[in-house]
C-alpha cells in the first residue's frame, strides 16, 4: 500500500471541525448534567417500596437500557414529531435520546450505590429520629456517592462516544462535520483518523483518571 497521507485538507477545514467538536462537547455536557440529576430521582424511585414510584421508574429504566441509543435518537427525530404537537430539531432529538439513556443507566448506578450501604446505617439514622429524607441525605448518599464516582465517570466516557450517533440525524457534531468534510475533500482516511484521534485525546485522560481513582479506593479498602 503506497497511500500518500495528506493532512493539509484537514487543516483547511479546521473551522468546521472545531464547530463540530464544540457541538459534541455541548451535547455531552448537557446530557451528562441532566442525566445525572434526573437519574438520581429515578434511582431513588427505583429503590422505593412504594409501587407508584417503583413501577414507572423500573419500566422507564428497562425500556431505555434495553433498546439501542441509535434507535432512540432516530425515534425522537422521526417518529416523535408525528405523534406529538412538538417540532423537534436535531439537537433536541439527540439530547433527548442520550439524556434519557443516561438517566436510565445512572439511575441504576445510584440504586446500586444506595443498596451497597449496610442497612444498619439506615437504622442508626432512623433510631436518632431522622426522617427518610434525612437518612438519605445525611447518611446514605454521602457514603454511596464515593462508591458511585468511577461508574459515573465510565458513564460519561460512554456518553462522549455515543454523541457521534447524533450524526445520523444531521446534528453538526464532530462526526457529522467530518462526514461533510470527507465528502467535499475526498479524504475519508485522514478525516476519520483525525476524528478517532480527537476522541481518543479527550477520552483517554478520563480513562486514566478512573483507573487512578479505583486504585486509590482499593488501597483505602
Amino acid at each position: 500500500m503506497d497511500y500518500l497521507w495528506d493532512f493539509q485538507s484537514i487543516l483547511n477545514n479546521k473551522q468546521l471541525l472545531l464547530i463540530g467538536l464544540q457541538n459534541t462537547l455541548i451535547l455531552a455536557v448537557v446530557c451528562l448534567v441532566l442525566g445525572l440529576a434526573f437519574g438520581a430521582i429515578v434511582g431513588i424511585a427505583r429503590y422505593s417500596r412504594n409501587p407508584i414510584l417503583y413501577w414507572p421508574s423500573t419500566a422507564f429504566v428497562e425500556v431505555f437500557r434495553n433498546t439501542p441509543v441509535l434507535v432512540q435518537i432516530m425515534w425522537f427525530f422521526f417518529a416523535f414529531p408525528i405523534i406529538s404537537p412538538f417540532e423537534i430539531n436535531a439537537f433536541t432529538a439527540a439530547a433527548l435520546g442520550l439524556t434519557l439513556n443516561t438517566i436510565a443507566f445512572s439511575a441504576e448506578i445510584y440504586r446500586a450505590g444506595i443498596q451497597s450501604i449496610h442497612k444498619g446505617q439506615w437504622e442508626a439514622g432512623k433510631a436518632l429520629g431522622m426522617s427518610y429524607t434525612q437518612q438519605m441525605s445525611r447518611v446514605i448518599l454521602p457514603q454511596s456517592i464515593r462508591r458511585m464516582i468511577p461508574a459515573f465517570m465510565n458513564r460519561a466516557i460512554e456518553l462522549m462516544k455515543m454523541t457521534s450517533l447524533a450524526s445520523v440525524i444531521a446534528y453538526g457534531e464532530l462526526m457529522y462535520q467530518a462526514k461533510v468534510v470527507s465528502t467535499i475533500e475526498f479524504n475519508p482516511i485522514e478525516m476519520y483518523t483525525t476524528v478517532a484521534l480527537i476522541f481518543f485525546a479527550i477520552i483517554f485522560p478520563f480513562t486514566l483518571l478512573v483507573q487512578r481513582y479505583e486504585d486509590k479506593q482499593r488501597e483505602k479498602g
Binding site: Q121, A124, A127, G129, M130
Partner: protein
C-alpha cells in the same frame, strides 16, 4: 415512682411466625431492666418494637404517659412524624455499632442534635464534648470510626445516643460483636449510666453483668415473659424449667451459690 415506659400486650408477627405473643412491661424511672432469653426468644424484637424499628402487630407503647399512635376502628395508625419524635426520646445502641463512617467521632455524636433536634452550634458542641467525655473518648474526637477499636466504637455509639438526651436507652446485644477483651470497657460504661439513674432496657448474653447491673431481669421464652424478678430471683433461684435450662447452658457463668438454710 413514675412510669417512663409502658409496654402493653405487644404482639409481633413476621409472616406466619409469631415472635412476640403478648408482652407487658412497665419500666419505672431510673430502672435498669435486663432481658434474657435464648436466640429466637424475641428479646431483640421486643426492644425494636419499643422505638418502632419494627412496628408491633398489635398492642400499645406508652412513653411518659403518652400513647403512641391513633386508634381508629380497632386498628392503630402510626404517623411517621410521631414515630420520629418518639425515637428522639428513645436512645438505641446496636450490636454492630452502626457509626457513620464518613463522619468523625465528634460529628457522629453531634449528628442527632444538629440534624434532628436542630440545636444551635454551641449546644451541639457542648453535647458532643459532654457525652464523649462521659464515655471517656473526648481525646478521640477528631478520629474516624475506622481508626477506633470495637470497644471504642461502641462507646462512641453510646455517646451518640446519649447526646439526644433521651428518656430511656435500649441496648441491643451491645457487646455481642466485640472481642472478649473489649467487652469490659463497654459494660463499664453502661454500668456507670445505670448508677447515674438512666432508665435502661438491656438485651445481653452477659449473665454476670446482668446480675450486677439489673434492678429487674426478664426471661423471655418463645415470645412470652416466662419469668421475671430481681437478679437473684431469676438467676440464682429460677422457678421455671425454661430458665433453669437456659442458665445451665451458660456453664461458664458463676453465680453466687444458693444459700442453704
Amino acid at each position: 415512682m413514675t412510669t417512663v415506659l409502658s409496654i402493653q400486650n405487644i404482639h409481633k408477627i413476621f409472616g406466619d411466625l409469631e415472635v412476640l405473643k403478648g408482652i407487658d412491661v412497665n419500666v419505672e424511672k431510673s430502672e435498669t431492666i435486663v432481658i434474657l432469653g435464648a436466640s429466637g426468644s424475641g428479646k431483640s424484637t421486643l426492644l425494636r418494637c419499643i422505638n418502632f424499628m419494627e412496628v408491633p402487630t398489635s398492642g400499645r407503647i406508652v412513653l411518659s404517659g403518652k400513647t403512641i399512635g391513633k386508634e381508629t376502628a380497632g386498628k392503630v395508625i402510626y404517623n411517621e412524624a410521631e414515630l420520629n419524635a418518639l425515637r428522639t426520646r428513645v436512645g438505641m445502641v446496636f450490636q454492630h455499632f452502626n457509626l457513620f463512617p464518613h463522619m468523625t467521632v465528634r460529628e457522629n455524636v453531634m449528628e442527632g442534635p444538629r440534624t434532628v433536634l436542630k440545636c444551635d452550634k454551641d449546644e451541639c458542641g457542648r453535647r458532643a464534648s459532654k457525652y464523649l467525655d462521659k464515655v471517656g473518648l473526648g481525646w478521640k474526637s477528631e478520629a474516624y470510626p475506622s481508626q477506633l477499636s470495637g470497644g471504642q466504637q461502641q462507646r462512641v455509639a453510646i455517646a451518640r445516643a446519649l447526646a439526644m438526651e433521651p428518656d430511656i436507652m435500649l441496648f441491643d446485644e451491645a457487646t455481642s460483636a466485640l472481642d472478649p477483651e473489649l467487652v469490659g470497657e463497654v459494660l463499664e460504661t453502661i454500668k456507670e449510666l445505670a448508677d447515674e439513674g438512666m432508665t435502661m432496657l438491656i438485651v445481653t448474653h452477659e449473665l454476670g453483668f446482668a446480675y450486677t447491673v439489673a434492678d429487674r431481669v426478664l426471661f423471655l421464652s418463645e415470645g412470652r415473659i416466662l419469668e421475671q424478678g430481681t437478679p437473684a430471683e431469676v438467676l440464682v433461684y429460677p422457678k421455671q424449667d425454661g430458665t433453669k435450662n437456659f442458665l445451665k447452658g451458660h456453664g461458664s457463668f458463676r453465680l453466687p451459690e444458693p444459700k442453704l438454710d
